[in-house]
């Protein structure tokens, strides 16, 4: 076996609340420490005394280690905030790890976004050259691949038109075409790249697959379980910055869909909460429409999520928003009090319970996750918990079948079927 990427105990620390806590003297101290090759004092403090720095830092990755062999296609999956994009950024050299190291063998190219550096005023042809140079190709290489790129992008007739005149579909096709024709030994791809219409998406994924069959190594970061299942032999599941699972794709995907935590109540401890810390989220519980915690709510019933939190300073005009996803990360609902024109009563200093009542939920039996955020009317975050509140909807006989589950989809809809005579047929 030939290891081409070796990630060794990589951790990544992010200081939050940068604006209010950044002082010249702390900067100077950090700089001085870095000059003497000593650990960052802010990082050291957060390890020694995490309580004193509550809400001011986050470990986006913690002791992550894995190897990738040559020719492997490895998927990296996980929910929002699990550390997927951080590991991508480190591998693609956009940022450096806080601890640990990554060893790489061979030329590495990363596609975190298509069309990086595209200039709207330049023509398609000019942008092909510019973009491929940014991605690390020489002009000679680009010239050799030019026809292939053009062919893949299907924009021949507009190649000498400024890209600002392109339709968004053309723009994306051209951008992806450039990226797809890189020749690196290791390719790191963010799955959101597979864009455009369905036919082109298929072409993109096919291209990624081709790269893999040529013996090159691919790291695919994805939300899309279908794509991961199709392409990757192996998957790494990240959870809260740590590797939760690393193994054959099917096994990891199962684990992802059915995590072991089954409780209807939970705590926010150690979860990545963003925001300025004005509101501290403590814990939550979920009740059904009779106010019972131990009985699952059903489709078409009300669910209430009780969030216990601490308000550090009176907030006169709070606003709240929620998002609800499936366990696979598909967003089902997203709404906020601002859009609905609802004014909330001021939050007083101290601990309080905030209730979110979801009326007559249309969701079919299964697990769901809720995002919750508190902002001021301008959208500044006091607290924001993505993907952390979990609730389950129980099975009920909504479609007249007793065992309605995820195979019936996620959302219940009342549908009527009927036959009617074909009037146009009678005219003939």
């Amino acid at each position: 076996m030939n290891t081409v990427i070796s990630v060794e105990n990589v951790s990544k620390f992010y200081a939050l609340g940068v604006i209010s806590h950044r002082t010249f003297s702390s900067d100077a101290a950090r700089f001085w420490a870095s000059m003497r090759n000593q650990p960052d004092p802010l990082v050291a403090k957060s390890e020694k005394d995490p309580a004193s720095m509550q809400g001011q830092f986050i470990w986006a990755l913690r002791d992550v280690s894995f190897d990738v062999q040559q020719g492997e296609v490895v998927g990296i999956i996980g929910r929002n905030g699990a550390g997927k994009s951080t590991i991508l950024k480190i591998l693609s050299r956009v940022t450096a790890p806080t601890y640990g190291q990554v060893k790489v063998k061979g030329r590495i190219a990363s596609l975190l976004e298509v069309g990086t550096g595209f200039h709207p005023e330049l023509t398609g042809r000019e942008n092909i050259f510019l973009n491929s140079a940014i991605l690390g190709m020489s002009r000679a290489e680009t010239r050799r691949k030019f026809d292939e790129i053009l062919d893949f992008a299907e924009v021949e007739e507009f190649i000498d038109t400024p890209v600002k005149r392109y339709s968004s579909g053309m723009y994306v096709r051209l951008a992806f075409a450039v990226a797809a024709h890189l020749d690196p030994e290791i390719l790191i791809v963010d799955e959101v790249l597979a864009v455009g219409d369905a036919a082109f998406q298929k072409k993109c994924l096919g291209k990624i697959n081709n790269v893999a069959t040529e013996g090159r190594t691919v790291l695919l970061v994805s939300h899309n379980m279908v794509a991961v299942g199709e392409f990757c032999q192996r998957c790494i599941l990240l959870e809260h910055g740590r590797i939760a699972q690393n193994g054959p794709t099917q096994k990891v995907l199962e684990m992802y869909a059915h995590p072991l935590r089954e409780s209807s109540a939970g705590s926010f401890d150690g979860l990545p909460i963003k925001g300025d810390g004005q509101i501290e989220l403590l814990s939550y519980s979920v009740t059904n429409q009779s106010g019972e915690e131990n009985i699952l709510p059903l489709t078409n019933e009300d669910v209430t999520i009780h969030v216990r939190m601490r308000v550090n300073e009176e907030i006169h005009h709070p606003a709240v928003g929620i998002g609800i996803h499936t366990e696979q990360g598909v967003l089902l609902t997203s709404v906020s009090s601002v859009e609905q024109g609802i004014l909330l009563d001021p939050f007083h200093q101290g601990e309080m319970v905030f209730d979110v009542k979801l009326c007559k939920i249309p969701y079919i039996a299964g697990f769901y996750r809720m995002d919750l955020w508190f902002t001021n009317p301008q959208g500044h975050y006091y607290a924001r918990a993505d993907d952390t509140i979990r609730f389950e909807v129980g099975q009920s006989a909504i479609y007249g079948v007793s065992q309605v589950d995820a195979r019936w989809g996620s959302v219940y809809a009342k549908i009527q079927f009927g036959a009617a005579p074909d009037l146009s047929a009678e005219v003939k």
Binding site: S6, R22, D27, N37, K105, T116
Partner: protein
């Protein structure tokens, strides 16, 4: 077990001397394309096209002629006012655009830097080169002016010192780059510097003999201008092309040493900041 040969090891910190010039060279095509992008996109969809590169300095020069020449009556050492101010505008323009544009390297390029890696120094270096092209166009206009006036005005006497022009430009580019990337490295943490640069450069122009000759400065303020490393460049340039200006070997050596120090400091600082500035921008 085979001993793998790693091509790259990503660590939390780079040693201060770890500057990968080899890699920068590998990306030379990117520098060329950046230069060409800046040049082309500057005048695309304009009627006059590259003529804009000339209109700017000419209008600035005319303004100076009116304000500093005809209203304030500043001395130009008998050199025709238009030519004197054009020399100042064109050369100062090169320095100030090198400085202000490299000073926004990290913040201005954050969208690209955040998505893909390439040696970050390609960005400021391409700025120097594309400014050099702009300068070249404006310089051609200036040379035409020098040729014309040297025929009709006895005070305008170009001489062999014009051969020093490339050296003057190199020193100037170095100063612009060095100061620019130092500021750019610091602005990732302190945005205030961005504001300071914009009017700081304007103020600095008045502390440099751009719109007045060094010889017209009263003796007791001379030392202040002598501290300014751009002063000898400006004076030598004017001496070479106009025959009016003060040559000083001592000040020139000071300017060169200043440049070397500032470029080295800038590159070392830039090299450290590029490691993880994305976490802060």
């Amino acid at each position: 077990m085979q001993q793998p040969q790693w091509t790259m090891i990503l660590r939390p910190r780079k040693a201060w001397y770890e500057i990968n010039l080899r890699e920068l060279w590998d990306y030379r095509d990117l520098i060329v394309l950046f230069v060409w992008r800046d040049f082309v996109s500057y005048y695309k969809q304009t009627v006059l096209g590259p003529v804009w590169f000339l209109i700017q300095p000419v209008l600035t020069t005319l303004t100076y002629v009116v304000i500093f020449g005809n209203i304030a009556h500043l001395s130009t050492n008998n050199v025709p006012q238009f030519l004197f101010y054009l020399a100042g505008t064109v050369l100062w323009g090169y320095f100030s655009s090198c400085l202000t544009k490299t000073a926004t390297t990290f913040i201005g390029n954050a969208p690209i830097f955040g998505k893909v890696y390439f040696p970050r120094l390609t960005a400021p270096i391409s700025v120097l080169i594309s400014n050099l092209i702009t300068f070249g166009i404006q310089f051609a206009l200036f040379v035409v002016g020098v040729i014309y006036y040297s025929q009709v005005n006895a005070y305008v006497r170009p001489n062999w010192f014009i051969l020093l022009t490339p050296l003057l430009l190199l020193i100037m580019a170095g100063q612009g780059l060095g100061l620019g990337i130092i500021i750019s490295s610091l602005t990732t943490a302190y945005r205030d510097l961005q504001m300071i640069v914009i009017f700081g450069v304007q103020l600095l122009m008045y502390a440099t003999p751009v719109i007045y000759p060094l010889s017209s400065v009263p003796e007791q303020y001379r030392w202040l201008l002598a501290l300014n490393p751009i002063t000898p460049l400006m004076e030598t340039f004017r001496y070479a092309f106009l025959g009016q200006g003060e040559l000083s070997l001592g000040m020139m050596i000071y300017s060169i040493i200043f440049t070397i120090v500032v470029v080295m400091a800038g590159v070392l600082m830039f090299n450290q900041v590029e490691n993880n500035f994305m976490d802060r921008v």
